[in-house]
Amino acid sequence: MLSPQGSENNENAASWEVNADDPHAADGVNSAKETDRELFIRKTFETNPQEGCALLFRLYYNPLCSYAVRFLYSKEAAADLVSEMFYAFWKNRSYESVKTSYRAYLFKSVQNRSYNFLASELKNTDSFEIMPQYDVASSERPEALMYFEELASRIDRIVEQLPPQCQKVFLLNRFENKKIQQIALEMNLSTRTVEGHISKALVALRQGLKDHWTWLVAVPLAFI
């Protein structure tokens, strides 16, 4: 016989997935769903901002980290950066002043913070101004928005062109956050060699991105 109406599903069984959207849907269909979702989140902020922030975290933490890691090449740094952004989002009540979608706001914030992070990391002896952290960006110039991808591709290319050992060491240290000792052991090299590879990679990055510094500095200015 037919079993009785199903009760609340036990959600503890399954593992979490990353993606909810349907590859077959036409561009327009997903947009309608997205608008509904953003509206729901906005409503949640009106009554319970903590839940709103928690919701945004659960929705966007993963894609934001993936986004940042393309730029920063470090899992730790990306995760820290995104976390810090969410902390500031709550503490400064930034959710009250979001004019665009929360998603657009959060991605743009990650962009800004990533620029600042990278700039401060790669600064050389002739130091330049580090821009203060901006989390708000109203309407952007298209070039500013697209700049992130440009820079990410450039970084990819620089890393690709590193000699194989150097590249491997760099990724283990930078992306996987492994210590120099660990890498030396894994790859059967001396710690001096490992250190040498890492600084070689950093020099290559600094050189390769050098002519972008003025751009890098100029871009955040557009956000005021």
């Binding site: 037919l2 069984a13 077959h24 561009d27 309608a32 903590q50 400064n92 009540r93 657009a104 697209m146």
Partner: protein
């Protein structure tokens, strides 16, 4: 009129660093409009989520975030220190204290639910285990009977203004209600097809083997893609449409035996000259048990009749008596062998 328009596919190419300078120029022009900037981030979020460069451990960070918010409640001054002061609230501030407690309670609830990612925020999951069938009633009145080992994803926050959409993995029988505004009902699958209806009774089967749609009452459109092209097949009552994994084109069989094919809704197996190999396959799908026909002579033997077994084993035992074979075990699997 610009023939080459900026769409999601192009942006996805762009994010994967495969866009040409001309295409980038187009995107740049397109981005000049504010609403396109929104679309840009919508598609960026989707691309990032779909092709992640790594999966960060959200669970721990999420819980840390919840704790941070708990310790830095907004009722305080922005730069004040957290937690300690709550204990010293004077008597007439009790309402605020209660408010904090309420917020803490709902936050704890969120964190015990755990980190399940976007999918669980947006969708409610109904799931049956092997050997289980379950009836579920959706918020629009639609009744769905889930067969064994089936998952149905339903939007948690209501169906929205456009179409009613659910996602199915497994087998289910739908009794879809008509809405006043004639909202369509869509069943999406992980396979290459989806089913669109107005209000009707039908079943959808979507498992590893392939897909099947059986229409009992009403009218249904099956949408599928053939290579690059999107196609549509309109079904009539009694039609059975089969989509094998191996063939691209769906096969339509009119005048299907709808009551036999939906017998599972009442927990019955109806066989009509069904070969034993097919029965073994159904046992796998319904109960999750592996049956191997070791002796070839049994594979093509057919069975007819209606069974309402308590378990897969019971059905197997019945069959062994019917066909006079021996049932053996090898680890988890059941073997059908000749009697010595």
């Amino acid at each position: 009129m610009n023939k080459l328009s900026v769409n999601k596919a192009l942006l996805f190419q762009y994010f994967a660093a495969s866009a040409s300078p001309v295409q980038k120029r187009l995107i740049s022009e397109w981005l000049a409009q504010a609403e396109n900037q929104e679309l840009y981030f919508e598609w960026l979020a989707e691309w990032q989520a779909r092709s992640p460069h790594y999966l960060p451990e959200g669970q721990e960070r999420y819980e840390q975030y919840l704790e941070y918010m708990r310790n830095h409640p907004l009722d305080k001054l922005k730069d004040a220190e957290p937690a300690q002061s709550e204990a010293h609230l004077p008597g007439n501030r009790i309402p605020i204290w209660r408010k904090i407690w309420l917020v803490a309670a709902s936050v704890i609830l969120l964190s015990t639910m755990g980190w399940y990612g976007r999918d669980y925020v947006i969708f409610k999951h109904y799931q049956t285990s092997y050997g289980e069938t379950r009836t579920v009633k959706l918020m629009d009145g639609t009744q769905v009977v889930l067969n064994a080992n089936t998952t149905l994803k339903v939007p948690r926050f209501g169906f929205g203004s456009e179409t009613r959409e659910v996602k199915l993995n497994g087998e289910a029988f739908f009794n879809v209600t008509h809405t006043i505004d004639n909202k369509r009902f869509m069943v999406k699958t992980e396979e290459n097809f989806e089913v669109m209806v107005l209000g009707t009774e039908f079943s959808v089967y979507t498992r590893q083997k392939g897909g099947k749609v059986l229409l009992k009452k009403g009218k249904v459109h099956v949408l599928f893609s053939e290579g690059q092209k999107k196609k549509e097949l309109i079904m009539n009552p009694g039609d059975l449409v089969i989509m094998e994994k191996t063939t691209a084109k769906p096969l339509r069989k009119p005048n299907a035996d709808t009551s036999r094919l939906t017998a599972w809704v009442a927990n019955r197996f109806v066989f009509d000259k069904t070969p034993l190999s097919e029965v073994a396959s159904q046992l796998q799908e319904h109960y999750g048990i592996t049956v191997q026909i070791q002796d070839g002579q049994f594979a093509s033997r057919t069975v007819s009749g209606t069974f309402q077994p308590e378990s897969g084993e019971e059905l197997l035992t019945l069959l062994s008596e019917l066909f006079d074979f021996r049932l053996a075990r090898e680890g988890e699997a059941y073997l059908i062998v000749k009697k010595q």
